[in-house]
Symmetry: C2
Subunit: 113 residues, 2 copies
């Protein structure tokens, strides 16, 4: 079950960027919950992975943030910049290509169209 991690290495950013693209704005904890939900608990992002990664993307100009107080708790929302929007598209193309190649290499091609 929860052992689908380990191969996550290069795709954390892509996943987070994609979720931000779909949801407009999200905060870190929300991202971890969304990923857990979508993958039915298979993939659990850790704080040690997501926060440094979000900070890095912010520093690179892919994301901007705004902080809100909700129920006495701080929430730091992340949003894509225009640069970020471009980056998601590139990362998604990369991911698509990569998954295709991986399926070829691992003999997992789901019947060619």
């Amino acid at each position: 079950m929860g052992s689908s991690n380990g191969m996550l290495k290069g795709s954390l950013q892509t996943i987070m960027l994609k979720l931000l693209q779909e949801n407009g704005r999200m905060y870190g904890y929300e991202i971890t919950q969304k990923v857990k939900e979508i993958t039915k608990g298979d993939i659990k992002l850790t704080e040690g992975a997501i926060y440094p990664s979000l900070h890095k993307m912010e520093a690179e100009g892919l994301l901007i943030t705004h902080t809100e107080m909700v129920e006495n708790r701080v929430r730091k929302y992340y949003l894509l910049t225009e640069e970020g929007q471009v980056e998601v598209r590139n990362k998604l193309k990369e991911a698509e290509s990569f998954i295709g190649n991986l399926q070829l290499l691992l003999n997992m091609k789901p019947a060619i169209s």
Copy 2:
């Protein structure tokens, strides 16, 4: 084109083990060529990545080697041990699960059966 790398991080071992499972025995350089061929040049494995990885798997008991001289050149062939055979199957299940989750997260599910 050749930009499908970068996401390769956690799947190098799986790819090499799978190729060894299919081909019985292979040497390092041969693996790089096979991967380049199958992915039409998209994925180029580097020596700095494959040799340490092969050595590690040998040290872990997943692979054994035998060296041959072919046309005045040394070839070090790698083969799966029984432990290695088991490991390929596990890695492939992991990869399948991971790819499924990634497609879900990235909205790339190719129509549900």
